[in-house]
Every structure is written in C-alpha cells, then in structure tokens.
C-alpha cells in the first residue's frame, strides 16, 4: 500500500492510528484522579509532540542516514518561525502561505549553510553548522531586532497591516491563526464518564502534516537516494570510486532536513504566533540531536519517540510540585508521606532536568539503539515480531 513494503505500511498505519487517536491515548487517566497530572492530551503539548516529531524526522534524514551531525538545525526552525510570523503580520492569518514561506525560506537558508559547511566532514562539519546557527541566533537576538524583535520574540500586534486579512477583529482583538477560516485554536471537548478528551483543530493540522512528513521520510529511507546516503555514511572512498559524488547527495539531505525544520518552525508559529530567538540557540539544536539519538538515530520512528519523551518531561514532569506529591501520597501516614515526598522531590518539578539527565544516561547505557531498541526488546519478550522495525542501518558515529 502507498508504494511501501508491508512492514513499512504497517508502521505507517500504526503511526496514523496513534496520532489520530492521540487525544485519547494521551489522556488515559480520569480527570479527577491523582494521576491526571500525567495526562498529556491537551492541545499545546500534543502539537508540540508532532511538531518536534517533524523536526526530528527531518534531522534524522540527515544525521541518521548520512551520519553528518549538524549542530545548527535549530537555525532553520527559527527562520521558519520568523517567516511565518511575518506572513501573519503582513499577509493574513491563514497558515497556508505562512507554512509555505517557512519551508521555502528554511530551504534556501539551509542550501546556503549546507553548501558551505559540507566542504568539511566529521566534527569540522558539526562546528561549522554550530557556528552558523550561533551567529544567526546572536544576530536575531541583537542587531536584527527590527526583523526579529530581539529577546522578546516577534509577535503579532493590533497594528499589523495584514493586507489580505484584517488588522483587528470587530471587538478589538488580534485575529486568530486559521486555515481558510478553521481556527487553529478551536477545540472540542468530549467528556466520557470521568474522562475528558480535547480535540484541537491545530493539533489535527499538525498531525496530518506529520504523517505526510513521516510518509515522505519512509519513502526517502527506502529509496535509492536513501541508500546512497547510507552508503556515504558507510564509506565515502568507495562511493567516489563507484562514480558517485557524495556532495550533492549530502547537500540534498541537508536541505531536505532543513525544510523539515522550517516546516516545524512554521507550524510552531501557526499554533502560537510568536517566534523567539532562543529557538535558534545551540541548546535547541542540541535538543533535536538528543531527541534523535534518544529515540534511535537512523530508525524511522525513533526520532518521533525521542521528541515525545523529551517534550513529555519538559511539560509534565516540570509541573509536579510538592503539592501534587502530597496529594498522591496523602493516603499514607504523615511521616511516610513526607518521606516519599522528600525522596521524589529532587526529581520532579524544578528537578525535571535531573530526571531527564538520568534517563539519558540509562537509555544510552542499556539501550544502545535508543528507545526503538527498548521497543524491540519488549516486542521480542512477547514473542512477536518487532513491531517498529526500521532500516537495517545501525546507528553509527558522525565520522
């Protein structure tokens, strides 16, 4: 189906099912239970899951296949966001032109940076991309303030022209991002007994785009082009002596992944029309690297899992404060309750970084193939064939 092998079709169908049903899957706990803290099925986070999923899928096309480790991909995401917000300011609040512009501009920007950076390999390449991204960040933060609004971030205001739309709504508010009138902010709630599920327009727009992005990435992985990219990672010498010039292939991969990043950036701005410079900083580039490795570089689904995991921690774990802990353990005698809260305290809430750090270490130490390998092991434990298999390419360093 869809021009894919059976295995890949299954994977795609699973991903479609998971994303479409995400509002249910991510809200497994009844609204009133103590575990409701762990529900992640609210629009903003669901959007983040898929948007960062797109970012990581794109990054993986470059890193997972060619082994070229870019440390500056956040720059493309940022450029995408700025383009989209400018579109909202100047043109209209329809997200379609915004997203198209994001992808195009990010593509052009990555073409330029890739063309220069790909003159070098290995760590030298990584540092070149890092340097470009840090320069973009520093400039966006300071001298480019007229375009980027500096540290505060580029926002839409009541006096933007929006030549194809309206500057303000009748009641004096800023209009809302939409897709031909369907507002991204629109949500519908569904209450089923103790459970409550939220369906968000914005999420489904992102989800559909992520599925498309994922589908394209499968096609790329299974294509001759994808094979060339893996060959580049494996042995550039042999590549040359087989009559192939690695550079255009890596450049194409770089630009494709830059466009994915641009798409993610454009979507982020479409869901929440603000573009901040920090999303171009090296930490943001590092984050997508971590997502990809954590999930399993070079695997199809891994980056999405990694993105989900990191975003989950950032958004859910950071919210568990002592108060919440006390409610959980309130059934215990006071002394024990305080002890439990005391033990967990450093790891949740503002300590979420600590937990994330520990998880990074545990995952690499025990699951060298990332979360995907964890999934495979569980799959094997139940004697089934591994459900989320991927290419035969194993993760290799960015030599």
């Amino acid at each position: 189906m869809f021009g894919l092998q059976k295995k890949d079709t299954n994977l795609l169908l699973i991903v479609i099912a998971l994303t479409m049903l995400a509002p249910f899957i991510l809200n497994p706990f009844p609204t009133d239970s103590g575990l409701a803290q762990f529900n992640a099925g609210y629009p903003d986070l669901m959007q983040r899951f898929v948007i960062f999923g797109i970012f990581a899928i794109g990054f993986n096309i470059l890193f997972g296949l060619t082994g070229y480790l870019s440390f500056g991909h956040a720059a493309f995401l940022g450029v995408g966001s700025y383009s989209a917000v400018w579109m909202f300011k100047l043109l209209s609040m329809n997200i379609l032109p915004a997203i198209i512009l994001s992808v195009v501009i990010a593509g052009l920007f990555s073409l330029l940076i890739g063309w220069i950076s790909l003159r070098r390999t290995g760590i030298y390449f990584s540092i070149l991309t890092l340097a470009f991204a840090q320069m973009s960040f520093a400039l966006a933060y300071s001298v480019l303030t007229p375009i980027t609004n500096g540290e505060t971030g580029l926002q839409i205001t009541l006096d933007d022209p929006r030549i194809l739309g309206i500057s303000q709504t009748a009641d004096g508010s800023i209009p809302v991002t939409n897709l031909f009138g369907m507002e991204m902010r629109a949500t519908t709630d569904l209450a089923l007994g103790a459970w409550s599920f939220t369906f968000s327009m914005g999420y489904y727009v992102c989800a559909v785009l992520m599925i498309l992005a994922f589908y394209m990435s499968i096609r790329i992985f299974r294509s001759p082009f994808g094979m060339m990219l893996r060959a580049i990672k494996s042995n550039q010498t042999r590549m040359n002596y087989t009559g192939l010039n690695p550079k255009p292939y890596t450049l194409a991969a770089f630009v494709i992944s830059g466009m994915y990043a641009g798409l993610a950036g454009g979507l982020m701005a479409s869901m929440d029309p603000l573009a901040g410079a920090e999303r171009m900083q090296w930490t943001a580039s590092g984050e997508v690297v971590l997502m990809t490795i954590l999930g399993g570089a070079g695997t199809l689904i891994g980056p999405v899992l990694g993105a989900g995991m990191i975003k989950y921690f950032e958004n859910i774990f950071s919210k568990i404060n002592d108060n919440v802990l006390h409610t959980w353990f309130s059934f215990m005698p006071d002394g024990l309750e305080n002890l439990m809260v005391g033990i967990l305290h450093p790891f949740v809430g503002k300590g979420w970084h600590l937990t994330l750090g520990i998880i990074f270490m545990l995952v690499v130490a025990f699951l060298p193939g990332g979360l995907v390998e964890g999934g495979q092991r569980i799959g094997r434990m139940f004697g089934r064939k591994k459900p989320t298999d991927d290419t035969s390419a194993k993760t290799e360093p960015a030599e």
Binding site: L45, G150, L158, S173, R185, D189, L274, N315, N323, K350
Partner: protein, 418 residues
Amino acid sequence: ASHSGFTNAPGDSTVTLGFNVPQSGPYADEGADELRAYELAVEHLNGGGDGGMMGTFSSKVLDGTGILGRKVEYVTGDTQTKSDAARASAKSMIEKDGAIMITGGSSSGVAVAVQGLCQEAGVIFMAGLTHSNDTTGKDKKANGFRHFFNGYMSAAALAPVLEGLYGNDRKAYHLTADYTWGWTQQESIAAATEALGWETVNNVLTPLAATDFSSYIAPVLDSGADVLVLNHYGGNMVNSLTNAVQFGLRNKQVNGKNFEIVVPLFSRLMARGAGENIKGIVGSTNWHWSLQDEGSKAFVKSFGTKYGFPPSQAAHTCYVQTLLYADAVTRAGSFNPCAVVEALEGFEFDGMGNGPTLYRAEDHQCFKDVLVVRGKENPTSEFDLLEVVEVTPAAQVTYSPDNPMFAGGQLGSCNPGA
C-alpha cells in the same frame, strides 16, 4: 465548562491559578522565592497561617475562604527565563490545568510574551518581576497587570538622589543588557540624568549571555566618563559589577571626581551574589523587607516565620499580585476576566507595603512609592545588604499614559476567551 462565556470558568469547589516562574536557568533563585510567596498567598487565601497582608490590605473582602468560596489550588511551571518556554508552560497551564490566572516570571521578555498569550487565550496575567517600560508601554495588554515599577520610575526616583550625591556635572557611560528591559531602562536613565545636566558619553549593548564583561569595562577607562551605569540584572549585573570593581574603577579619579558606579535596578538576591562589590552603590528597588509599614512588617513576619529568611522583592510582588487578583475577583463577584479587569482598572488600595497604590486604568501599570537603596557598608546579617536611602513618593514617579517612552501599543479590549 466552556459555556460560561470565558476561558476556564472554575467549578463550584476549586479554582486553579498558574504560577509560572523560572525554576531553572540563571533566575532560578528568584523563581524559588516567588514560588514561596505564592504558596504563602494561597495558604492565606485558603484561611491558613496568620493571614499575612490580608489583615493590612485596605480592601477587606477577602475572608480566608478561598476566592468566591472556592478553594484555591495552583499549578507551577518553569519559564526557564525564555520567552518560548514560558509561553509553552503558560499554555499548558491554561489548556491542561484550567488555570484562570497566570502570574510570575522574572524577565520582561518573558512577561511580554506571556502577557500576549494570556490576552489571546482570555485569562488574566498578573505580571511578576518585569521592569521594562514596554510591559505596560508599547506591549501592554488589556488582560495584563503589573504591580512592579519600571525603568522610567526608577529613573525618576534615582535622578534626584544621584544629583544630590554626585552633582550635575557628570559624564555617564552605560552598559546595557541587549533586550527590551535594558533598552527601556537605559533610555529612561539617560533621559533623567541628562535632564540633570549629565552627559551620556556612550551606551554599549552587551549580549544577555555574556559572562565576562572585562572587554566592555576596559574601554570605560579611556572614555573620559566618570560614572558607569550598569543596566544589567541577575548574573549580568553580578559579573559586570565585579569586573568593574576589579578593574579598579571605584578607586579612580576622573575629571577631578571620584568615579562612581550606578546600578539602577537592585535586588537583594543579586546583591548577595555581588558580595562586597555592592557596598556603597546606589540603585532602586521595588520593595525591601526592612520597610516599617504595617503591611511590610506583616508580610516579613509571615514569610520569615514560615521560611526562616526575609522575602525578596520578587516574593513581595508575587504575593501581592495574588491577593490583588483574589480581591478583584471577589469585588467583581465573578471570575470573568473582563469583570476582573474592570475591578482592577483604577483600583486604589493601601496596606501592601509601598503606601497608597493605584492600578491605572489606561495602561494597567501600578503607581506606588519607589525605594532608592544603597549597598550597605556594614551589614549586620546576611540579609541586611541594602539600606533604604530614600522612599520616593508615587507622585514623583508618575507619568502620563501618553509619555513617549510608553507610546506605541494599544491596550485593546479585555478578552474573556471562549
């Protein structure tokens, strides 16, 4: 619950507030203090503890039964002092936890970004620490309120003191954090000091991420300036001040005068970071625990008893914002943001620490007394780092809503959301 006409209308028993503070990153200590204050405020609102400022507050509608009879619950989030992250965190509080009011933060960039979000989402934003003119200037929003002072007010309060201490004939060199707060504060201070007759020799923007300012300090020595104004805060301030002292600026004589350093915006937590270097340096602050009015004393006692050390200005602002919100809701008799906005606009109150205070309707800026402080030469304790040189009355720092430094934005209309 979306049929009540506004976002996140609370149920009958509880109401959820969102405390969005920096829990990681360079302002994490301030964030922690803000959180303490919020917890204390919630305790007081729910009828626990000694009631803190509820007893001294001029409005008496709060009775310790929560807000409009609903028990106050809260969620916390981490802004990481980044606009993006702060917005994400606030979004999740609104979307996931059903927070009806967002408060907190420790940076103007964050405040502006979150305020914009709250406006769009239709909830109230009670800003925490934010000192940029823009927050209630060009970036003001109908759903947002600020109980902190701003760059203009600092300048207005500082200028007479500076004149008294350092005279009218000074050449000032500014180092400025390169973002909204730095720019507006620098603009305000420069304007106010120039009005005294000072000359602004130079203004150098420094990256927010900078840690070593030595290469920005060195040129100061050469510039002929005799005052250095550090429009820095947090880690930036600690480091730039330390560097300036290391380079011997304070012992220098220029133009026949002692070289002076001014840090227009002080906080006790930062003063602790800067250690010895802070001694004798003048700046302004929103509030200080040594104030002797009833409200301040009640708050310091309540906070100090619970946590063992006095509250910072961050804690003070956040505590007050929470009570003010609760009070406004109670007076309005509704959680509807538009009703709350109405109740807060033009609200005058007292007993919250800085004397009689006004929440101005035109821009949602509050006007109250501003403290001019100086690093204490002989601290008696680890908390006793600043001495209050002058309490500048509110009237002296009040400006008209169309002041050019605040021009540009529109308040818009209140947005109750869904």
